[in-house]
Symmetry: C2
Subunit: 340 residues, 2 copies
């Protein structure tokens, strides 16, 4: 599929990414966060650290805890207090991944077999609950009720987003606003909270906390739209999880919704059969791709992500200048090219 | 099975139970708690209130929120502040029920079909997460970091207990201490926290908070041992869930562990086949019951529960006298006869 390769080539080069640069800059702080993560996944119930370690140590770029640290550093806030929050944010994220994989019956995650396949669905549900509880214990240590409010609110929104996604799955009538609501809830809410808590911890005025929150929301939306797009165009090695998973499950994401907007009668019948009624044969993914290409749905999805990335950048305008602001700015471009 | 009927008849009559009396006494307060419960299960994602309502409105005796209210009332503490905590405690409990039913593949709960069978495992996992997040939002409204610490710690312990239970299931070598650790974690930890937060909210000295916590732990242990015993001797109508579920799943609970303690070689082979290797035929539950009766394992289980109930009562000794203390005292006897 020539088109796909062109798309990926068109995107910026990923070497020395701003996320890596941020990671280097905050290296000492991330070490503290990692040791908190390790400490808090301990339990004398052996299966808990085994499973938690399997997923957490598999990596990922730790973008959420990095955002929390950067959002504290940009205001020269109390870094030591941000460690617990950064670890808490990563625990919330990991807990939702564990539950997601049970819900989605995933096969692969972060380039390795999904935890539920190795440890079982039961353990994935319960260890998710454990990590989630632990995240709240770590937040309590931050000593701020306001921050606890922000993160517990984000957690509730994430769960709502996941349930909403269940309701929209296999429904080819899913509207664009409904899709945006899903991604804003299931993904952007935690990005937003990760950013906002840094500003709150630094005792910044409401307008700046709000700006950081909105930066996170827009960044998260861009991130998720690209994620959903990669599910159609990436190669498996890059993605670190199954390709075409969303298609197989009948998830209504940007590429499909764009393709459906201009679909003729026959195409609609195709989407109804494959996504709505989940009756798929081997050639269907190829046909889906041809419809997606015909309607330039990949380009439209990337454009939409670009708009969110642009809005994210704008929110940073009135925040203190410096290396952190500059990197956060670059990260909003970087998510558009993400292959992590 | 004649023996079973005798057991249940031997227990005290359940009319005008102390739990009902406590419920009547705290009727106005429970109305506030119920309206908070209703309010907080709302969401514009329709499936969430549908599923939450299905389970929460099916009833149960609300023993945990009642304990929180009573533990505040006994010290003449701030009742209005206890409403959020009582609702939070019920949400944590409901979330764990939802996840439990997914993990256990249960068929029945509170006398009706288990939620996961009607709404699906996916929705049960996610709505559980939602209720769990909401419980933390409600705790934040209590304004006390200490209380948040107590309840988030309890949540982490519950999850650990559930994972530990997974590890002991189908392991007929499970020791009594391991069993007690499971029930103390998965059940008693929330009873303990429900009681402790009332004392903490009322600004009582550490010794009294500790006494309330220990009352809750012992009550919870007694409650769970009786629950595990009823799984062998109750009739389905009374229990409101499947009978013999624990046997079918190979859960290592008090009646089986007592029966195994004095089991001969042949019996051990029977338990290994049925619980260890999960190879069961229709007559096996009857055989299991005959071994359990032979070793008086039901009587021993009830005796053990009685010891915990007695310890619960002792913890109340130095607390302020009055109707609440008296009812909490009676409740520790009542759990021994529970058919709720």
């Amino acid at each position: 599929m020539q088109t796909q390769k062109i798309k990926i080539k068109d995107m910026p080069n990923n070497q020395d990414s701003p996320l890596d640069m941020l990671s280097d800059l905050l290296d000492q702080d991330m070490k503290q966060v990692n040791s908190l993560i390790l400490k808090n996944m301990q339990s004398d119930v052996a299966l808990i650290p085994q499973l938690a370690q399997y997923l957490i140590m598999a990596g990922g770029k730790r973008i959420r805890p990095l955002l929390t640290l950067a959002s504290t550093a940009i205001f020269e806030g109390p870094m030591d207090k941000s460690y617990h929050l950064a670890a808490a944010v990563e625990f919330i994220h990991t807990a939702t991944l564990l539950h997601d994989d049970v819900v989605d019956e995933s096969n692969e995650r972060r380039g390795q077999q999904a935890a539920n396949l190795i440890f079982g669905n039961q353990a994935s549900v319960l260890v998710g609950d454990f990590l989630f509880s632990k995240s709240f214990q770590m937040m309590v240590e931050s000593g701020s009720l306001e921050i606890l409010g922000i993160l517990s609110n984000a957690s509730a929104i994430i769960a709502q987003g996941e349930v909403l996604q269940l309701s929209t799955t296999n429904d080819i009538e899913t509207s664009f606003p409904a899709y945006i609501k899903v991604i804003e809830s299931k993904t952007a809410a935690l990005f937003a909270a990760s950013c906002e808590v840094g500003a709150v911890l630094s005792n910044r005025p409401a307008s700046e906390c709000e700006a950081m929150r909105k930066y996170g929301t827009n960044l998260g939306n861009a991130f998720q739209i690209i994620d959903d797009t990669l599910d159609y165009i990436a190669d498996q090695e890059t993605l670190g999880k199954d390709i075409g998973d969303d298609f197989k499950e009948g998830k209504m994401t940007a590429p499909v919704i764009f393709a459906l907007q201009d679909a003729g009668k026959e195409e609609k019948l195709f989407w109804q059969r494959t996504l709505g009624d989940k009756k798929q044969s081997n050639q269907d993914f190829g046909t889906a791709m041809s419809y997606i290409e015909k309607h330039e749905a990949i380009e439209k999805s990337i454009d939409l992500a670009k708009q969110y990335a642009g809005s994210a950048k704008e929110e940073l305008m009135n925040l203190p200048n410096g290396k952190y602001k500059s990197l956060l700015c670059d990260i909003s471009d970087y998510v558009l090219s993400r292959n992590f």
